[in-house]
């Protein structure tokens, strides 16, 4: 759509600007402020320069947390995106069952995150949880609070349970927008199921899938509450992701300087990756002439 050049539109954006400036810019400046100073209490601050940034950049703890974080985001993207597409393809196209599926699938998305954690914490227990009990009676020595591999399995399964529906719903919305004529043409050409998927459905889903990847990457990269409730970041530090480490540093030990420097770099990583996705997305929008 051709847009009109009109700088008065700024007045319409002004309320958002004021609000977001209050709730984002002021806190962010506080963080920047802390990141270059040190304090011994009483609100007396000393200029520290880039010391904290150097500390964080060379900290082994941060490196391993970043490694775990990247691995976690990678694993859940690798599971959730294909699974979400598969589910979207299997969903009924219309009618009562489509509504039923939509409502049931969206349920996990609306459960408060600590309740999600609680649910899986309970499920994984061997005495009162369905999952832990079943695994134990199958002869597996299941213990997610001792065994790091088991802790990872339960955290990943939880995230798959929690968020795959989001990907599926997005992909489903993309599928719904494909006109019936496309499928008829494919049928006349006797295209195989795979070809229909590869050359009709996948390109049409491209846009929504990018949104899905963007949202899932962002949210998995800042995951905090759920693993914190289930494993508390343990055993040891096996499941302490970046946010868990950060909160421990900032609110637990009150190491303001390093925590602030950590925050800024954490934010920058997310920003960088998201910017790449966003640029690709807007270019796609343009290519489709929207």
């Amino acid at each position: 759509m051709d847009k009109i050049q009109n700088n008065k539109a700024w007045f319409l954006v002004l309320p958002v600007l004021v609000l977001v400036a209050f709730s984002a810019v002021i806190p962010l400046m506080t963080v920047v402020n802390y990141s270059v100073q040190d304090t011994f209490g009483n609100n007396v601050f000393f200029w520290e320069g880039l010391t904290w940034f150097q500390d964080v950049l060379t900290s082994r703890q941060v490196h391993s947390a970043l490694g775990r974080q990247l691995m976690f985001s990678g694993i859940i993207l690798a599971i959730q995106i294909p699974l979400g597409i598969l589910i979207a393809l299997c969903m009924p196209k219309r009618g009562v069952w489509a509504s039923v599926c939509l409502v049931l699938m969206a349920l996990p998305l609306l459960i408060p995150w600590n309740v999600v954690g609680t649910i899986w914490q309970i499920l994984g227990r061997t005495d009162i949880g369905a999952l832990g009990y079943t695994l134990n009676s199958l002869g597996i020595n299941w213990n997610y609070s001792r065994n790091p591999v088991h802790a990872w399995i339960i955290v990943v399964t939880m995230d798959v349970w929690h968020w795959t529906s989001l990907v599926a719903l997005l992909a489903y919305a993309g599928l719904q927008s494909i006109p019936q004529a496309y499928y008829q043409a494919a049928k006349i050409d006797q295209a195989s199921r795979w070809k229909v998927f590869r050359y009709i459905e996948l390109p049409k889903m491209q846009g929504v899938l990018l949104i899905a990847i963007l949202l899932r990457f962002m949210d998995s990269f800042m995951i905090y509450t759920e693993p914190f409730v289930v494993t508390g970041g343990g055993p040891g530090t096996a499941t302490s992701f970046l946010s868990i480490d950060l909160v421990k540093m900032a609110l637990g030990q009150f190491d303001l300087g390093p925590a602030a420097a950590f925050s800024i770099m954490y934010f920058l990583v997310i920003l960088l990756v998201s910017w790449v996705f966003y640029t690709v997305m807007t270019n796609l929008d343009k290519a489709e002439g929207r």
Partner: protein, 284 residues
């Protein structure tokens, strides 16, 4: 000839039937995977703590509503739901009120710095709440808003306003510009046009945006817990109380969890026809 047609039909059927079956099987398995954890929570909420700890059962032997009674009659419990709903509604209204004009501006006009502004807004959706927890705590303490509903509502606008702008902009793009122009020619002023004509046209988009604001504000814990102590404490942080001296009261914990699912389930039911499009942020 008849034989070949039959065998053709048979092979077609044998080709078609399993395909339908696999689809259904996958769907049923997936829904089971979605529902079993929720079922388990409901099951536990209907049991007494002694029964839960007493042995492993697949369904409650003596279903009881005692756990729910505990929560719904104790003010220190149910006030958490009232607090949560209060700040969630405040946040939804606030987010939509500022996002609507902004989304209109982004969808209709080009102006100085529009693209940068839009991306900057989105970056706030990307900001990890953990980064903001401490500065928020200090900011709201210093302006005397700590432990109030409005503090949490304002804090949640951080990620809900950008999202609302994004969704609404997507829906507004779908409305032809000619409608605006015709309305102006007919002598409508901008505010009157916006409220009387434009907002009804994107009603489903507003509904979806409200749904998302509700959802993300309802499920968030880190910020709402950091910014409250007593007066505005959300249910999610009250739930941690079930850890007592005598261990965890699993029954009450499960009942509290079940009650947190209810508002979400109700909201989903109302927007079920727009969910799919809504999750695509109106961009389908």
């Amino acid at each position: 000839m008849a034989v070949t047609t039959d065998s053709y039909a048979a092979s077609a059927r044998s080709f078609a039937l399993p395909k339908i079956r696999t689809r259904h099987v996958i769907m049923v398995l997936y829904l089971a995977f979605m529902l079993i954890p929720i079922y388990w929570l409901i099951k536990m909420s209907l049991q007494t703590n002694r029964e839960i700890m007493g042995g492993f059962t697949l369904w409650p032997q003596n279903p009881t509503l005692d756990n729910f009674r505990t929560i719904l009659t104790d003010r220190s419990w149910y006030i958490g739901y009232i607090n949560s709903i209060t700040y969630v509604v405040m946040n939804t209204v606030l987010s939509l009120a500022v996002a609507l004009p902004a989304a209109y501006a982004f969808s209709r006009y080009r102006f100085l710095g529009d693209k940068h502004l839009f991306f900057w807004l989105l970056t706030n959706r990307m900001a990890p709440p953990a980064v903001f927890a401490l500065p928020f705590f200090q900011l709201y303490s210093s302006v005397g808003l700590f432990d109030t509903h409005i503090a949490v509502a304002l804090a949640h606008t951080l990620f809900n306003v950008p999202l609302a702008v994004w969704i609404l902009e997507g829906f507004m793009r779908g409305v032809p510009k000619e409608i605006d122009e015709t309305a102006y020619i007919d002598g409508y002023s901008f505010p009157r046009f916006f409220v009387k004509i434009f907002m009804p046209l994107i009603a489903s988009g507003i509904g979806v945006a409200a749904f998302f604001c509700f959802m993300f504000s309802w499920v968030e814990l880190l910020l709402s817990r950091t910014l409250t102590a007593v007066n505005a404490q959300p249910i999610a942080s009250i739930m941690t109380r079930t850890v007592g001296a005598s261990g965890i009261d699993w029954g009450v914990l499960a009942a509290a969890g079940v009650l947190t699912i209810v508002p979400g389930a109700l909201v989903i039911y109302f927007v079920r026809n727009y969910i799919a499009k809504g999750f695509a942020l109106g961009r389908v």
